[in-house]
Assembly symmetry: C2
Homo-oligomer: 450 residues x 2
């Protein structure tokens, strides 16, 4: 198919909306996938977008709304009445409906939920709202196909067909007991080939991967990826089957987590898009910049205490940005590798082994870099022996210390249950700048004696 939302299509739609050609609009949009409808809505002015959302049937718009960026969706939802939003939610799977409701104000949430006609659906949504959005409970949908272990194969087929009506993709049939506790799963093949007199308890597979409602999203993603699962059942504290997480939600989750980690490493403190408002971008960017400013202020003060060196060894001050940059870069490299190791659970071996390895690694890097620097310095800047010694030893020491800070700060934070991703980017570069400068001038002072 390879459909592309073209400028011509957008212009045609704008024209049809302007002239209220509803019939033609419906014809034009009938064959278009809801994800592309979402792209079209994003391109339109708010008023036109709202016109389109109200015109199309709510099954189509419900799915399109889910695909929109949160900012665009917010603006469109504001133009809809609680009843209109409720109609959209009726068409959505419970997990999507809960995600959208959670974006509304608490007051609006209540009026919208009250307008949902399907009591069961409303109850499911309210249940999902209770869970943390990054837990299995927050990621799961209530829609699934389950059968009771005591049913006969014949009864099961009828019941399954009814349940499957509400489920976009069946993936797996789960087996529960009379108390709704998850017992296992059923292969469609076994069901089709089983004698119609058999009971489900005779044919089901008693091993099934599952997660708890409180399992963290990261862990759900890890389990599903490890076992190549396309859906995983979720049980509550009593082992009762309460929902399932499907792979499409996990794909979104993995991407969002990766974006969040990437942004945090870049010193951006809340998920922002390039299209966000200046105000929102400032709020995301300023906190880490203020931290960096304080760090910079500390380095000003530290340098001030070494001003005695200025008379005889002015050149030391020229090397400050070089030393600071090396400390920052080495720290960021080390922290990035450790963070990914923590995320993958691939960090093995004792802390002591890691310490020895990190020292050896940075010693090797440091010696290579110091040699390069000295060759350059002697040829181009005419270093004398003591000055060269100072710069060389400082560079190696700074690299070792910076890589130890980069490695162990995330590990320690993780041990204390703090998100180790905090200790990357601006945090590491700022603290390593300061330590780097202190180490550099301390070594210089003892060698050059000022």
């Amino acid at each position: 198919m390879q459909f592309q939302v073209s400028d011509e299509l957008i212009e045609r739609i704008e024209f049809l909306i302007e002239n209220q050609k509803d019939e033609e609009l419906l014809d034009l949009l009938e064959e278009i996938h809801h994800a592309d409808i979402a792209e079209i809505i994003t391109e339109l002015e708010l008023e036109q977008a709202t016109y389109l959302v109200k015109l199309l049937d709510s099954q189509k718009t419900a799915e399109a709304l889910m695909e929109l960026d949160i900012g665009v969706r917010e603006r469109i939802l504001e133009t809809l009445s609680s009843k209109e939003i409720a109609e959209e939610l009726e068409e959505m799977d419970t997990d999507d409906a809960a995600d959208i409701i959670s974006e509304l104000s608490l007051e609006r949430q209540q009026t919208v939920i009250a307008e949902i006609q399907d009591e069961q659906h409303a109850g499911d949504i309210v249940e999902l709202l209770r869970y943390d959005e990054n837990s299995a409970g927050g990621l799961m949908a209530k829609e699934l196909v389950k059968v009771n272990e005591n049913w006969s194969v014949t009864g099961c087929m009828t019941e399954m067909r009814a349940q499957a009506e509400n489920v976009t993709r069946v993936h797996s049939i789960y087996v529960v007991d009379n108390k709704d506790k998850l017992k296992g799963r059923l292969s469609l093949k076994d069901l089709l080939t089983a004698s119609s007199k058999a009971n489900i308890s005779d044919i089901y597979i008693p091993t099934v991967d599952y997660v708890n409602v409180h399992t963290e999203g990261e862990e759900v993603a890890r389990v599903m990826q490890k076992y190549d699962l396309e859906a995983i059942p979720v049980v509550d504290e009593m082992g009762r089957l309460v929902g399932r997480v499907t792979i499409d939600d996990i794909v979104d989750f993995i991407r969002e987590e990766a974006e969040r980690d990437y942004q945090m490493a870049a010193g951006i403190s809340e998920g922002v898009e390039a299209d966000a408002s200046i105000w929102k971008l400032t709020r995301a960017r300023l906190p880490w910049l203020i931290l960096a400013l304080f760090g910079g202020f500390v380095s000003v003060t530290v340098l001030g205490t070494f001003d005695a060196a200025m008379q005889e060894h002015a050149a030391l001050f020229f090397f400050v940005p070089l030393i600071a940059a090396m400390a920052g870069n080495v720290g960021v490299q080390s922290s990035a590798i450790v963070l990914q190791g923590l995320a993958n659970q691939s960090l093995r071996g004792s802390l002591l082994q890691r310490l020895i390895k990190e020292v050896l690694l940075s010693l090797l890097n440091g010696v290579v870099l110091a040699t390069l620097l000295l060759v350059g310095g002697i040829l181009l800047l005419g270093f004398d022996f003591l000055f060269g010694l100072t710069i060389g030893i400082s560079l190696i020491s700074v690299i070792i210390i910076a890589s130890l800070i980069g490695t162990f700060v995330p590990i320690i934070l993780d041990k204390f249950g703090i998100d180790p991703a905090m200790a990357t980017g601006p945090f590491i570069t700022t603290s390593n700048d300061i330590f780097g400068i202190i180490i550099f001038f301390s070594i210089a002072k003892s060698i050059l004696e000022f």
Copy 2:
């Protein structure tokens, strides 16, 4: 199930291997998932791991081999004969087999392929090896279920059952014409409810998303995520159906891409794990550090040209790391936001609009930060008016320039078809350090007149 590979289990397995209790080992491992077998293999010594791989039947080990880290897999494959590797490959899906073969030396590849008994399977693997590993061709598997549009529903059912034997998950049934060109897809429901006399051409759905063998992996992931697909067919240059990409491979791909971007932003130039050897880690880390060193050398030279300021305005030199740090942090923030916008295809509006927005944003950030700095400077360091003015104007200018560099360098690289992720992390911090220092001292020179 929530199975965990415990230390006790490992010890038990080690004991059984030492004492060659093959029967007990097979019993113990029979119920364990191949992904967990992979975890066990990783924990064992190489000799024990090889013993296990040779003991277990190749269907189980083939799947476990796929789950191993590349380093562990390499070491195990070295201990196996070409014939033994070929036996493993016979059990794998073509895409996995091709991935593993591509890790071998060219010479070994040939001897292994020659040992594969199933000619068809060998031919499919050889075909897949032709494609770039980051293209749809490199990601796809040959295993799929396809039917000819001219077949009858009855004939189709028999044929489908035979094909489905080789396919782990059917997902979709694709419809092709006599020349193997992709025509559409078939819903299992329509197939089951259709009259047995009907032809496939009467009941198939003629719209189907597909990609070309040369479509980039990033684009395949985007399409599958946008349309919530669990499999997508791949066609060759002539529109013939040649394979399909499944969501589990895309999940791995997305994660690997995210890790690669993250590492690149941290100045690590090839995918390395925390467990890699010191030599490999050095090779990944040293290139960017050498670049940063050269950058540092430039900044030394730049500062040297302003040494006339040292006599009267020594304090300027104390502010160098602060200015450099702010330039680096702002640049990294801007580049991270633009890079994600480029990756999401969510960058909208003209370059001029973006320029104006970026200037306004950094002006706002700059004024806030300069105010904080001045208040601190006046209270703690006793700035005089001209010095304060210098620092304030410099900070604001540096932030504006740094954010413009961070924003537009990736956009320009992208326009020229160069991976914009190159222009982040060390590259941006290093160049912004230098520009920051030049701007700072130029402004200082014109205000303080030295």
